[in-house]
């Protein structure tokens, strides 16, 4: 075969483009789950949380979270009327093994606040990632590509809610995935599954039949740190103003 220089110059880029499409392969198809049909969020009802720590234990066993680190945890607030702006907050071992007894004859109020990744629609953590290792999936869950993460921890500092940590063995960022491996299979999250009082509810904002729409219309629902404009999608019912 005799190819002139001109023909060669035309053929080479054409071959490169062809090879590119071969390497890319066929796109992934999952017939049962369409990412564009969902926009995940969570509803937390403070008035139902009993601080049993079931969610923390469930999360740790579902997601192999290392000891001393938490994708979700429960805080106990103690607010007295002369210290409204400075509540006493404790979360011993994330609330996994319960909480110490409350002080007797104290005029303050106590309540539990479960915390987890707020799955922000405008998340500060994804904006600071220098390599594109953390991102908001098309169904509204903030995820981490742990094979791509450098472990620089910019995102750990950027999260206003303190929901991220560097995994002590993998040395990459880790956080709540809203049990993405479960919700894409039609299950609820491990924490919602284990919550005995229904204080946590997984919700799909794109599903018009989801009870969250009715709940948001009829209850006094807040998000954490609204002044940060993060577009947080974890909604708290009956949240006290002292919660930060």
């Amino acid at each position: 075969m005799n190819i002139s220089r001109r023909q060669m110059l035309i053929l080479l880029p054409a071959a490169a483009v062809a090879w590119e499409s071969v390497l890319a392969g066929t796109p992934e198809s999952s017939p049962n789950y369409k990412m564009t049909d969902h926009w995940w969020s969570m509803l937390i009802d403070i008035s139902k949380c009993i601080g049993c720590g079931n969610c923390v234990r469930a999360c740790q066993s579902e997601n192999d979270v290392p000891d001393g680190f938490f994708r979700t945890w429960v805080e106990r607030y103690h607010v007295t009327d002369w210290h409204l702006e400075n509540p006493e907050v404790i979360s011993p071992d994330g609330g996994k093994e319960g909480f110490p007894a409350v002080k007797e004859d104290d005029n303050g109020k106590y309540f539990f606040v479960p915390k987890l990744c707020n799955q922000c629609a405008d998340s500060p953590c994804t904006q600071v990632c220098p390599v594109g290792a953390t991102f908001i999936s098309p169904d509204g869950v903030v995820l981490i590509d742990q094979t791509y993460c450098l472990g620089c921890a910019y995102c750990v500092q950027a999260c206003p809610y303190g929901c991220r940590y560097i995994h002590p063995q993998k040395k990459v960022a880790d956080k709540c995935t809203l049990c993405y491996h479960r919700i894409t299979k039609g299950l609820t999250t491990a924490c919602c599954e284990a919550c005995p009082t229904g204080a946590r509810q997984l919700a799909d904002l794109k599903n018009p039949k989801d009870p969250i729409h009715e709940f948001l219309r009829t209850h006094n629902v807040q998000i954490l740190k609204p002044q940060m404009a993060t577009g947080a999608k974890v909604f708290y019912n009956d949240l006290d103003g002292s919660v930060r």
């Binding site: 590119e20 392969g25 008035s47 079931n54 103690h78 993405y180 299979k185």
Partner: protein
């Protein structure tokens, strides 16, 4: 005579530039993962990888396909809304292979985890100071965990 004197220099420069560009594109194609940019500035395949993680909590629907007797006892009782694995723990392995038996539960630990009296708990939630309430008698002597109201019955 050509307008541009010694134009060969320009062609050599252009050729060098073209080679450089091609080399860059080649290296870039090699190092950037295939699915990067599929949905945004990240590796699209990461989503399917995360979705493929194994589950540990089977979900109460899985429990109820076999344990209909327990579901029957539970559904009229106070614990109707408490999912099986809230107390029994993660049992996806048992759901996949029923010959794997779940560990026996200790009501002395489980009941008080939720029902020990605490001023921090919502007032309308049933709570007891265990020592005053039963004086050391195990909870399941009077209460059946699947339907805990006294006299509600239930063999399990």
């Amino acid at each position: 005579m050509s307008v541009f004197k010694d134009s060969g220099h320009l062609f050599r420069l252009a050729a060098l530039y073209a080679i450089g560009t091609l080399t860059f594109l080649g290296i870039r194609a090699f190092f950037v993962p295939r699915s990067f940019g599929q949905y945004g500035h990240y590796r699209g395949a990461a989503i399917t990888e995360i979705a493929a993680h194994p589950i540990h909590y089977a979900g109460h629907q899985a429990c109820e396909t076999c344990h209909t007797d327990v579901q029957e006892i539970k559904k009229s009782g106070m614990h109707a809304q408490v999912n099986c694995e809230a107390c029994h723990g993660p049992l996806a392995k048992h759901a996949d292979d029923p010959s794997i038996q779940p560990a026996k539960l200790d009501t002395a630990v489980l009941c008080v985890r939720c029902h020990a009296a605490s001023a921090a708990r919502p007032k309308n939630f049933p709570q007891v100071a265990a020592v005053d309430h039963s004086n050391g008698v195990p909870c399941e002597t009077c209460h059946q965990p699947h339907s805990p109201a006294i006299g509600a019955g239930g063999a399990k």
